[in-house]
Symmetry: C2
Subunit: 347 residues, 2 copies
DNA sequence: TGACGAGATTGGAACGTTCCAATTATTAAG
DNA sequence: CTTAATAATTGGAACGTTCCAATCTCGTCA
């Protein structure tokens, strides 16, 4: 019993007006008389009419859809980013296509193509690892607004919104140094990403300005996940001159580092200072509460969406590169002061 | 420089065929000659043609879009569910609208309406708290396939895919009993949901069959979140006859319970047994690794998507109510055996 | 009274595709 | 050589909306 579709014409007939008038009330035009508007609306309700956006899109060549493509929805960071986007996009009357690439650039190509076919009027992309400007070229040439988020791509010629990774890392490491740490590691993350590079740069700058040497043995890459954190800290603890603190690539890694520490009977916060990056939701409720560089992923999603909507409204806008400030949130995982770091349990 | 849209007609002209032929190759029809197909495809590439799905949808009154609405994307359970759906839906050539309701049924109404306007050909819904059959009635009457997931709604007349909550709880509590626990709490969750009800039922049944009484003071509701877990365990520890173990409403609550225990200097797994529900990704890497009832959210998403696609393909299908089996995954958080539960530190 | 303008309403064309029935070209059978 | 069958191709209508220009109905003013 797939019922007949009821169209604007049916409404028109039932209300005794023309389809144009119905269209007008659908768009809330001020041209139509109050009485007819009321009647039309009544009929719309009665007949259970549902607006056909495909038809509208076809006619006016623009949709109320935006696309968002993320790398790994399973990572809270991206999930929060997506809900931030969803919130503002929804209240602007848009709906979002969400796709997950799992860092596969092949998939990324496919989903972007598919979204274009569906006529999205803008795209928020957190580029998969290894994405190059050339990959995005056809997209940006088509003139549809794009904002890159989390990771910027040099020469892509589109807006971007990334967090101030260098400054965040700098602040975090300064904090550790102020607490008396001298052997500070940088753990986790893929070394071939711009984000990694920026965070390590902040880390190195902080060490340098304190006159500490930033030996390469202390920066240890890994997958940017909890499991990656475990392996990274294990590797760090194999070093003969072990670190006493670490700045982690992100919170997921930091949690993994905490797990790895506990597996060696070291208590994060007391025996070893760890600082994360992102300030994911569970950072504040974890035990110990994670000291981390807050990038406010949800807020970032909101800002990205606002930027995109602005560009959609403006038609053609100059690309802007926004770097979003970050702030160190000191909680427990970085320990109180270095004096407390007395117990050194070896496993 | 928003370039002119290139249409099927432009392709046709450039390739020296008719638009009908182009349409045919677009659909991969076997009717068209190999040579012309090749030529057309070449032209398509050259001109940078992008298919206009709005137009196609309009004509054939069906889209390659499915919608998924979840309650809280920030909860890994739902994020994983969405990833599972995305995976199968993507490889079937569909794309997904994802919307977050935040448990607000008002929002849910809006997003469902919006998705209908966009002509989704199916919907996967994890109903917001308090959703009733009547809320879904207009949707199901329209004949578009719907599968309810996670939470079923009596009398909705659509397919559903939920996990076997009673059996999971039963297995978990039996396990705790077998380990010697006698005072077992049920922590977290909103008491007015069907899922809560089913899990508590399993919990009570297990206690009853062991001849233990299931006093109401031991089932303590809370928000189904990490923070909720903290408050629930706090409340449980105020009891004069304290529990020694708990089955938690979900993994988020279980992690919160662990946090709360540690805040009281109790080590989860050693001093108090905790079992979660869901088997979220971080369950296995957490310390202690969380014993939990695995519902495999990603797999559940995949199955839901498959079920939905099947119904879409079949046109009109009988609603099926699938209950997905679950399995207790024993890790560390439930402790070894009750004998180890010696230390009782009061705070 | 006639002209005018504002307010409401309207019919038809257009958007880019798919589908249908019809046509042409090609091959096989008699 | 004709006819039938098959393989390829095609033009036009249709999908449900929006936009444009045109029309109609008033009331007002000279």
């Amino acid at each position: 019993m797939a019922k007949e579709r009821v169209t604007v014409i049916d409404i028109a007939r039932a209300a005794g007006v023309s389809k144009s008038t119905v269209s007008l009330v659908l768009q809330g035009s001020s041209l139509v008389n109050e009485a007819t508007r009321a009647k039309v609306n009544a009929v719309i309700r009665d007949l259970g009419y549902v607006y056909n956006r495909s038809a509208a899109n076809l006619r006016q060549a623009k949709s109320k859809i935006i696309g968002i493509v993320v790398n790994d929805l399973t990572n809270s960071f991206f999930a929060e980013l997506a809900v931030g986007v969803d919130a503002v996009v929804q209240s602007a009357g848009f709906v979002q296509f969400l796709a997950n690439t799992g860092e596969k650039s092949e998939r990324q190509r496919e989903v972007i193509a598919s979204m274009r076919e569906h006529g999205v009027s803008g795209l928020i992309i957190s580029p998969a690892r290894g994405t190059e400007a050339a990959d995005l070229a056809p997209l940006v040439e088509s003139g549809i607004p794009v904002v890159l988020v989390v990771r910027d791509i040099a020469g892509a010629g589109v807006s971007s919104l990334i967090s101030d990774n260098r400054a965040g890392a700098l602040a975090a490491v300064r904090h550790l140094i102020a607490r008396g740490h001298r052997r500070i590691a940088f753990l986790g993350g893929f070394a071939d990403t711009a984000v990694f590079e920026a965070r390590v740069r902040g880390y190195r700058d902080a060490l340098r300005e304190a006159g500490l040497n930033a030996g390469d043995d202390l920066v240890i890459g890994s997958a940017p996940s909890r499991a990656g954190g475990v392996t990274a800290i294990e590797q760090a603890m194999m070093l003969e001159d072990r670190p006493t603190a670490a700045l982690c690539f992100n919170d997921a890694v930091a949690f993994g580092v905490c797990d790895g520490l506990r597996a060696r009977r070291l208590e994060p916060g007391a025996d070893f200072a760890v600082i994360g990056f992102d300030d994911v939701i569970e950072a504040k409720t974890a035990v110990p509460a994670l000291t981390t560089v807050s990038v406010d992923p949800q807020g970032m999603g909101e800002r990205a969406a606002e930027l995109l909507l602005k560009q959609i409204k403006a038609g053609r806008a100059e690309p802007e590169a926004i770097v979003s400030p970050v702030r160190l949130v000191v909680r427990q995982s970085c320990g109180a002061a270095v004096e407390r770091r007395v117990k050194e349990v070896s496993s």
